[in-house]
Amino acid sequence: MLAQISTKTDDQKPNIAVLIADLKALPESVWCDYLFNRDLLVARIGPEKRAELIAGAIKCGTDLAQETARSYGSIPASELVDQLPLQVKPEDSQTIQKQVFLATFTEPNEIKIYQEPINKLTALKLPGFDRAAITEIILAHELFHYFESQDDQFYSRTSQIELWHLGRYHHRSTVRATSEIAAMIFSWRLNDLSFSPLILDILMLYCYNPEAAHDCYQELLALARSGQGDPESDQ
């Protein structure tokens, strides 16, 4: 599959079925890199620290998925949400230009799910991407943020990088990508998906701005080709 991808040139615009097939074949490591490259602090994180944070985030998401299955049994995210003190609010949309908002979790317990992108995506009638399936993927991701907010010992909250120091003061910060990677992995495992939940990113973007979606797609293929991520972590 990867060999087939690598022969594709930039100006060939694939139809959506090809795009989905290609995206489904991408390994976990590529999606982690994709998320990491979008972090505001990416320029301040060296390759070693980056690898450490990504590995830690993957473990964090995986562990939580296993623990959740143990405590609650294997139930879908939507049922889990019902058992927890969470409020799910459907909102219309907060999409601006090239930033498409899918959902927001706000402490202590509010999950907003934006309906407009979901409506647009379901209108495409893609197999496997009906409203229920999309909602489960999104809810699981937001559930991670809920669990994370409940426990300050989560890897995504304890792992920090130092940005600068002045005398004895060390200015440290968490890295948002760590939390997002862990949330992606959690949703991936909890929903037992054979592809990354982040495929939604590209598909939603496709609904608003096919050009931008195509750019992201090319970027992902390039990441896969460069093998920046470790191919062994492919599940």
């Binding site: 505001l40 990416v42 990088i161 750019d215 992201c216």
Partner: protein, 447 residues
Amino acid sequence: MSNVIIGILLIASFVFMVWYCMKGYNLMVGFFVMATIWTILALIGNAITPAASMDGKSVMDVLEFVYADGPAAYASSILVNVFFGAFFGRVLMDTGIAATLIRKVVELGGDRPRLTMSLLCIVTAIIFMSMTGIGPVISIAVIVLPILFSLGVEAPVALFAFMGSIMAGIFANMVNFKQYQEMYVGFAPAAKSYTYNDYFTIGMIGMIVGLVVVLVIANLTMKKGKSHNWAIDSQPAGKENAPWYSWISVILPVLGVVLLKLPIILGFILSGIYAMATTGKLKGNYSEICRRFAKLFTDGSIDVAPMIGFLLSLAMFNNAATFAAPYFTAIIGNIVPTTAIALTIVFALLVPLGFFRGPMNWVGSGSAIFAVILAANPAIPVQFMYPLTAATTVFPQHLDVTQSWVAWGFGYAKVSSRDFMKRSIPAGWISGAIMCLIIFIMYGHLV
């Protein structure tokens, strides 16, 4: 008696204008119509009882003064500043200096929404001490706002904090200073010698006060808990950086004017050249470089073109206000305060009338009221009076829905004007009132 009737009609047209602005109709045409109504009313008044302001002037002289001299006088000194300010704004965008500064500030603050938001606001304010025009505002907004959103700051807070920082920066902005000072000089010629350098200290204080007020309100109205957005960014974080020694370009025009006493336009040109030289934009042959400059100037001019149209019709209105002033004096002349403390209190209380292009706003219908105030206080020192009018103009105006970029922001960030005004009106009023007090403390003794 006829003066009072004309005065009442003028005030009625005034109220109409406020309604017109609140409705969001075109301001360029609106102010042209207002200039015409006021000129006609003043001509009628003069025909009944000759007014001193029209003494020895034929109808043609009056028309000339309003429709020709108004825009011409205005253009000679201000418009050029606006054009070069806009050019400089384009330079900062095209060289990537503004974007680099913003990224560096985010890397300084890290994943701490309140801290990083505050740092971004400070940088935005500094940038807008010398930048002008809706183009640069949009270019900066599309960098800053998505960063704030991805840090989990809600859209209404993010938009308010961003627009509020621009407002703060504009209090110390050279181009805006020239713009309002020129109008002031129209009613008080002695103020001609009052320069940006004289204004600089109070301008900086105003910027700091505005920033502090905006940040306090943004922080207080922000949700307590942390927020995570699942948002799709179509672009990875940028990595191209402008070198550190180019960053100073952002404040070079101000430094040039304040420290070296350079003319403002030369300050913009030299700073623009420095910014381009330090970011490798002066490479290539002569004609390539010329083309680059021409393009930056053209793009900048396009950014401010809609504003220019408005400013020219506003200049007509300002000159019409000269003729209308005696009729306002007939009605409110007796109640215009003449002591420093009374002026301070009245201005502080009336700051909200600077919103919606209201009567306390130089780029609104304020010139009529300011003309009356200046007529009633002919010897008032400009160091005291000008900053007061700046306080009631700059703070409300740059948080106002009639400000082109604020209106743009509502559409861009999907924020309702109600959500925005909940924060912007208190912010404008509080900043303005605090500044009135500071101006009184610093310059009140001159009166």
